[in-house]
């Protein structure tokens, strides 16, 4: 059984069908690419999977149970963590605080235990866990820097560190390589692969074809809200429709 199944999902914005009867499924511990030109509906798909938006029709099945229409925080608790297309961070806070907030699910507390300090063990293990995520993403030297002052590569790494500290089972990455130079992209690709090796399933939205082709096990191509093609990177690359509509249409940024 697939980890995530997207079944007949549609999303209307007024007259515009941002998603139109989309079906695909994601296997455990795969990196699943979701590609397509700008405006194809990729970010909308992420919003729907993560509960930030509800579909007009269709359903999302995660590990055999429907998560359609649940609140975003509930879906995050279930283990689906998304990142945002813009580099979204707690910009005013330090790297460590950012990641610490990410551990919410395993460290939440109530006022009473916070006051009398009975949750100390829990908070300590959250801190350890946050440290792990920071080391995993190679940010330990920047621990106490303010997020807004980081270089782009580190910001992106922090975005993923925050997501990792929330203990995802399925991670949704929205254009993590956008605006990076080739060197930064290579580092980030290695990190993404490392995340998968640690047992986390990933759905990747990305325009950088080198990264997509290099990382993904399977691809789903969206165009105007419809699934244009699915398959391994090789199959998709050779699909004439895809070449026509997308890959052939010049280099995407």
């Amino acid at each position: 059984m697939s980890m995530l199944q997207v079944k007949n999902v549609s999303k209307q914005f007024g007259g515009l069908a941002a998603l139109d009867n989309v079906n695909f499924s994601v296997e455990k511990e795969h990196i699943h690419g979701l590609i397509g030109p700008n405006g194809a509906g990729k970010s909308t798909m992420f919003k729907i999977i993560s509960g930030f938006s509800s579909p007009t029709a269709g359903s999302i099945i995660f590990n055999d149970s429907s998560i359609t229409g649940l609140k975003s925080s509930r879906i995050a608790e279930a283990g689906i963590i998304r990142t945002f297309q813009q580099t979204t961070l707690f910009h005013e806070m330090t790297v460590f605080e950012n990641v610490l907030i990410g551990t919410h699910n395993s460290s939440r507390t109530n006022i009473l235990s916070a006051l009398i300090g009975s949750d100390r063990k829990r908070q300590q293990s959250a801190k350890n866990h946050a440290m792990e995520a920071i080391r995993f993403m190679g940010l330990e030297d920047r621990m106490h820097q303010i997020a807004s002052e980081l270089p782009l590569g580190s910001k992106r790494a922090l975005v993923i560190a925050v997501a990792l500290s929330a203990k995802p089972r399925l991670l949704l990455l929205d254009e993590p390589f956008a605006g990076m130079n080739p060197e930064e992209t290579n580092t980030m690709m290695a990190l993404t692969e490392k995340v998968r090796q640690s047992g986390i399933t990933i759905i990747l939205v990305e325009h950088d074809m080198k990264a997509v082709m290099g990382l993904c096990d399977r691809l789903t191509v969206l165009n105007f809200g419809k699934v244009l093609a699915q398959g391994t990177p090789k199959e998709v690359r050779n699909n004439p429709e895809v070449i026509n509509a997308y890959l052939g249409g010049g280099k995407s940024t």
């Binding site: 914005f13 919003k47 930030f52 938006s53």
Partner: protein, 289 residues
């Protein structure tokens, strides 16, 4: 039956004031994203101007109305230029500035008019129109309503039929996109604030002969304007006008049959209920995300 019709007419006439005040508030919020808490005080200044110039110093009524409008528009422009514009990135900052202005204007009014009881302006248009032997409408009210309605009509023409009105709406919709199209958004803010304040001043000037004038009269005005704005849908001018009529009718009826306080309390409760079931108001677009 008589009371019913009379109350209805009173309500409709009342709606003219509500709409003038609310539409200005909506316009300012729409274009500048600032909640002008001093809006009621702008109305109060309008009323005070009429009291001071007309009742105290015998200036002709119509001239004082015009003077009041110009004066309040000037205050609005100063607020835009020196308070709201530097606070463009911080909507809360604008709101807090307007609270500061609220106090300054109240004190200014106290200094001009002195403390003591509320002031009255003798109505310059005397007499009452009697219709069908039962409806009684004082000419003063009729005049105020006519001016309010005409002004709203002109505003509608300005916003929908003139290029500059179109630019104003473009800024209200998306400030950045409008800037990209070459619209000077600072200028639009000045226009919105000028027009919005002028309308508040007009409401106050027209109200002056019909109400008790004191430095705190703005409080009721702002409560009414908030209710009307939320019920009509923030950012929707037609919504604000329709909500003004509905709320004025509602308020007048409840005041006539129960009491003014009950009317205001239920208005506030309705407003909170609207926030629950339809935060975007009766005419506002539903916010999707």
């Amino acid at each position: 039956m008589e009371l019913l019709v009379q109350t209805m007419v009173n309500g409709i006439i009342q709606s003219g004031f509500y709409a003038l005040a609310a539409v200005g508030l909506v316009l300012i919020f729409g274009v500048m994203k600032v909640v002008n808490f001093a809006h009621g005080e702008l109305t109060m200044v309008g009323a005070y101007s009429v009291w001071f110039l007309h009742a105290q110093n015998d200036m002709p009524f119509l001239l004082t109305v015009v003077t009041a409008v110009v004066l309040v528009a000037m205050i609005g422009l100063l607020m835009e230029r020196f308070l709201f514009r530097p606070m463009t990135d911080s909507p809360l900052g604008g709101l807090i500035c307007s609270i500061g202005v609220l106090f300054v204007l109240q004190v200014a009014a106290t200094l001009v008019g002195g403390e003591g009881p509320s002031k009255q302006v003798p109505p310059p248009y005397e007499g009452t129109l009697v219709l069908f032997d039962m409806l009684r409408i004082p000419y003063q009210r009729l005049f105020s309503f006519a001016v309010a309605a005409t002004t709203l009509g002109l505003l509608w023409y300005f916003l929908t039929r003139m290029r500059i009105g179109w630019a104003l709406r473009a800024v209200a919709q998306d400030r950045e996109a409008a800037s990209l199209q070459g619209i000077n958004s600072n200028r639009m803010s000045m226009i919105a604030m000028g027009v919005g304040a002028a309308m508040a001043g007009l409401a106050g000037a027209l109200m002056a002969p019909l109400t008790n004038i004191n430095p705190h009269m703005g409080h009721n005005v702002i409560i009414t304007a908030f209710i009307v704005t939320i019920v009509g849908g923030v950012g929707s001018l037609p919504g604000a006008v329709i909500a003004s009529v509905l709320y004025a009718l509602f308020h007048t009826f409840v005041t006539t049959y129960f009491s003014g306080t009950i009317a205001t309390i239920s208005g506030l409760v309705i407003m909170v209920l609207i926030l629950i079931v339809r935060p975007s108001g009766i005419l506002g677009k539903r916010v999707t995300e």
